[in-house]
Symmetry: C2
Subunit: 332 residues, 2 copies
């Protein structure tokens, strides 16, 4: 009798899983940057705080999906939370450029319509991801930069902050260290790319992707990396996948990383995991590029692939399983 009950329960569970997957699978994956993240890197409590921030953000995004919200809303809510914490190089925690200022970039893309919005080099926008989304929905354009992008935001009720909002002692010390290293050796700073990103699938079967960053510490000359470049740092297309990238942005632009993963799936019929692995573990290192991606296909399969020691990452998969990880030797 006991075995019969177990068998029946098993069948019912299997059926309910199938029904749930067929009706409306939803999933979300996020990153907080890839790089040379070592267990010895953290002050006491810092690692736990970062894990808690990742978990809160991914759960907030998943709640949007679970209650019938769109993937665009899920990635926006999640990125906003990551921008508002000081732990990641985006929004509040943005790094300083060589002039001691913060230059923020963000982009978002809708897999259903392939609409997209991006901003680069904004200085006083509290949540660059919200401005990128307004560019997508309220302008005929995809990319706005600098003062012009901020002027557009002012016309649409975006929240602005004083530049001092972005001042965190941690990032300020990073800049001083980078300047000292640059003066000594031109070698640049520690390779740690804590851009943030999110990809999601909603109950209507639509994918979305979004990315936000403060760029690189001590950057000069109005440098723009891959985060605000549609195709490089962010891409979403219901026909293939949604991708958000983090790493040495120049290589990601030259390899068109986010779109290339989608193109390999779409044109060659390979799986998301294989496509992401080829690009991040093979194509990028051949050029000299470091970093990773989070990516999701139309069935909600998740691939989080990086060629660095670690990548801050978290996900809620189609079964509702929550995962938070940092190091390469942790399972996703």
């Amino acid at each position: 009798m006991k075995y019969r009950l177990l068998a029946l329960t098993g069948i019912l569970l299997a059926m309910s899983n199938v029904i749930a997957e067929n009706s409306a699978p939803t999933a979300i994956a996020i990153h907080g940057g890839a790089g040379t993240i070592k267990r010895s890197s953290f002050a006491a409590g810092q690692e736990a705080a970062i894990r808690a921030s990742l978990e809160a953000a991914v759960k907030a995004g998943y709640e949007v999906l679970r209650t019938g919200g769109t993937s665009l809303d899920a990635v926006t809510v999640t990125i906003k939370m990551l921008e508002d914490t000081p732990h990641f190089n985006a929004g509040k925690g943005a790094v300083f450029n060589a002039e001691g200022k913060n230059e923020l970039d963000a982009s978002i893309m809708d897999g259903a319509t392939r609409n997209a919005g991006a901003v680069a080099s904004v200085h006083t926008v509290k949540n660059p991801i919200e401005l990128a989304r307004l560019v997508m929905t309220k302008s005929p354009h995809v990319m706005l930069i600098g003062d012009g992008a901020e002027e557009f935001g002012r016309n649409h009720g975006i929240e602005f902050v004083d530049p001092s909002y972005y001042h965190t002692e941690y990032r300020w010390q990073q800049l001083q260290k980078a300047k000292a290293e640059h003066d000594r050796s031109e070698a640049g700073t520690e390779r740690w790319y804590s851009t943030v990103g999110a990809v999601a699938l909603d109950q209507d079967g639509n994918l979305a992707a979004a990315t936000s960053t403060g760029g690189t510490t001590n950057k000069r000359w109005g440098r723009v990396g891959d985060s605000p470049i549609i195709g490089a740092g962010t891409y979403a297309d219901n026909r293939s996948c949604a991708v958000s990238a983090t790493g040495t942005g120049e290589y990601f632009i030259r390899s068109v990383v986010a779109y290339d993963i989608c193109a390999r799936m779409y044109y060659r019929g390979i799986s998301l995991g294989d496509a992401a692995t080829e690009v991040i573990m093979d194509e990028l290192p051949q050029m000299g590029g470091d970093g990773g991606v989070i990516s999701m296909d139309i069935d909600g399969n998740i691939a989080m692939v990086f060629n660095t020691a670690g990548m801050y990452r978290a996900s809620v998969d189609v079964n509702g399983t929550v995962s938070v990880a940092i190091y390469g030797d942790e399972s996703n």
Copy 2:
């Protein structure tokens, strides 16, 4: 005897053609923008002047290739000439933004190394393509924007001009007309996208691509189109092809047009012509995008494809045949 001599000459010519193609085929193709170009659009002599400019520029680029120069040098020389004429929306002939200023964008890519350089929203650089090339060769970055990009250029001996250099009466009147139309209907301006671009194959078998633009008349908010976006407006990879695009930039960014043509060739094994035709005649119009591309594969095959009434274009193919065309009903 006369016939024998002719026959012998024919055989020798045929042999010399074959030898030239096998040893070191070179070719170049350029565009001066696509759009609703009608025969009735031109003032007397204007069409002839534009054709002469296209022919001079493509021949100058081909001369670089013929004498053993690199494809990067060929596209740079060609784009510089197109930037220096007032006929095209790049450099000297750049359109005005809503504030009556000129914002110039350019990008360049090396198919051998997939190195790339791009600048966006520069205001006083005489030849943006030269600055983009310096970003590629003299900085660790791919994309620099605004004042920062100009500061980088000053450190590397770039030629600057007074903003009045870009003042052409033709473009100024275009802005006044666009503003009047915008005030009336929000419908915007005539669809005429005279960005310039070039692709080339050199004797070493290396491809290169480059694009330069003044953006769109009456543009606001620091809008950036596809021209300075690697993957969208410009791409080059010896494994597949070199592409320069022109058109409604937002759609070209969302479709990652330049890279997508290369990806379709590389991943599906189809010809350059088929790949370019699929993207420009099928994919883009489905989204609502207008424009075209010039493109070249590693054998020097040229595909110049546009879904608009015309595209300013010229080429010298692997046989040395020169072609200049404007309208859709002209053969390339």
